[in-house]
């Protein structure tokens, strides 16, 4: 599958472990959900009359099968999601696009960034992954603008590049070209009103 590559993603790649992590998290969630269903079936088969208990066994098998199918589908979806995940730190903006079926793309000018931070949740720690968040002054940017599932080196790299670009763009000491100097011979004809 073609991976949505950009300069930034080449330099600071998403970890392949992200797919694995998302699959495991999804599997655990479905395991709990279907586990509850399974318990009902098992109780039915233990306590119910003989003909219903037979059907409960079939139901239990179906639930286990369903779990397998869901995990496989989720894994494939996560691979797809991974391959369409796009982020690029261009000269002027940060562009983040995700979602294979319903794409969402956010573009933030560097000058508007309010915050850059890196965090990990429980599963991120288990897999050694990091999420790099950035946020402008809007609520939705906080929800959308994060690059999640990079390893430590890439997370540090991304953060450093972001902070460096930010201070160049919005710092007092931002780099500006020196203006051309007027030709020495040309007299300043009009007084400069101060």
């Amino acid at each position: 599958m073609n991976i949505a590559m950009s300069k930034s993603r080449e330099q600071f790649p998403l970890s392949q472990k992200k797919v694995l992590k998302k699959t495991v998290v999804g599997a655990i969630a479905w395991f709990i959900l279907l586990g509850i269903l399974l318990v009902f079936f098992l109780i039915g088969s233990l306590a119910g009359s003989s003909d219903i208990s037979g059907w409960s066994g079939v139901g239990a098998a179906l639930v286990v099968g369903l779990f397998g199918v869901i995990v496989v589908i989720n894994y494939l979806y996560q691979k797809w999601y991974f391959s369409t995940y796009f982020y690029d730190l261009t000269a002027d903006y940060i562009i983040i696009r995700k979602g294979p079926i319903t794409p969402r793309e956010i573009t933030i000018p560097y000058e508007r960034i309010q915050d850059v931070y890196v965090d990990q949740d429980l599963f991120d720690r288990a897999f050694g992954l990091f999420d790099v968040h950035l946020s402008s002054a809007t609520i939705s940017s906080g929800m959308e603008a994060h690059i999640d599932g990079v390893e430590r080196a890439a997370a540090d790299g991304l953060r450093n590049v972001l902070l460096k670009t930010l201070s160049e763009k919005i710092g007092r000491n931002r780099v500006t070209a020196a203006p051309p100097s007027p030709p020495a011979a040309a007299p300043v004809s009009t007084p400069i009103n101060s």
Partner: protein, 234 residues
């Protein structure tokens, strides 16, 4: 005749996102005459002494909804989705008159909203006019735009549409900030809203390539109109 050195310097610095006041200051500091500098700015802004508009001004004439229109399909998007939902309900055996009335209402309201929606990207402001009965006009300086969204939902994906969403940090216009319910977050609640609401300006139902083009134009405008002070505290 404006000095070409000044003009090219101004163009160069503007491209890099330096505010006009800062450019002016730098030029004056290095000893240029004030009127030469002003002449340079006038040339860059496209209203030099000449009564005829220069090629640059013609090319950058304000972009309006006529260039990148909200497609007619948008007006029928929610009736179509709602209609399908009602049909499914009907097949299942449920029937609700208020819901039918609501579908008919959107069928009438959406085309009206669409014809009353106007935007224009002029030199310094993103201008918006909207409203069928209650009118609203909004002028958004490019410098305060915080982020630009481009998104497609399933319907958009099938029909090649896209939604462009512009946000600033304003808290004034109320209902963008209101949560409709516990279950729908703010971003989902008014995803289909046409025009300005709270801190967002939503332009749904654009053709995909129109939305991309409009986004590019907008980003250029943001770059060309930086804030003098970003307030970043660095």
């Amino acid at each position: 005749m404006p000095n070409t050195e000044i003009v090219s310097y101004i163009n160069d610095q503007t491209q890099q996102g330096i505010a006009k006041d800062a450019i002016r200051e730098a030029l004056l500091q290095s000893g240029w005459a004030a009127d030469a500098v002003e002449e340079g700015f006038a040339t860059v802004d496209g209203h030099s002494g000449s009564p005829f508009p220069s090629a640059a001004t013609v090319a950058t004439a304000a972009i309006t909804e006529k260039d990148y229109p909200v497609t007619l399909l948008w007006a029928f998007k929610s009736p179509i989705i709602f209609g399908l939902f009602l049909i499914v309900l009907f097949v299942v055996g449920y029937y609700s008159l208020p819901l039918v009335f609501f579908a008919i209402f959107t069928l009438i309201a959406n085309p009206l909203l669409r014809t009353n929606f106007h935007y224009s990207l002029d030199e310094h402001f993103f201008q918006l006019k909207q409203g069928v009965i209650a009118k609203k006009q909004r002028n958004l300086p490019y410098g305060v735009i915080q982020n630009v969204f481009l998104k497609q939902d399933l319907f958009d994906r099938i029909f090649g549409l896209a939604t462009l969403r512009i946000e600033n940090a304003a808290q004034g216009g109320t209902n963008g900030m209101k949560r409709k319910s516990v279950w729908t977050s703010n971003r989902n609640a008014n995803n289909e809203f046409l025009g300005s609401s709270g801190n967002t300006v939503n332009i749904p139902g654009l053709k995909k390539k129109d939305a991309e083009a409009l986004k590019e134009v907008l980003l250029q405008k943001i770059k060309a109109n930086p804030l003098a002070d970003t307030g970043a505290g660095l």
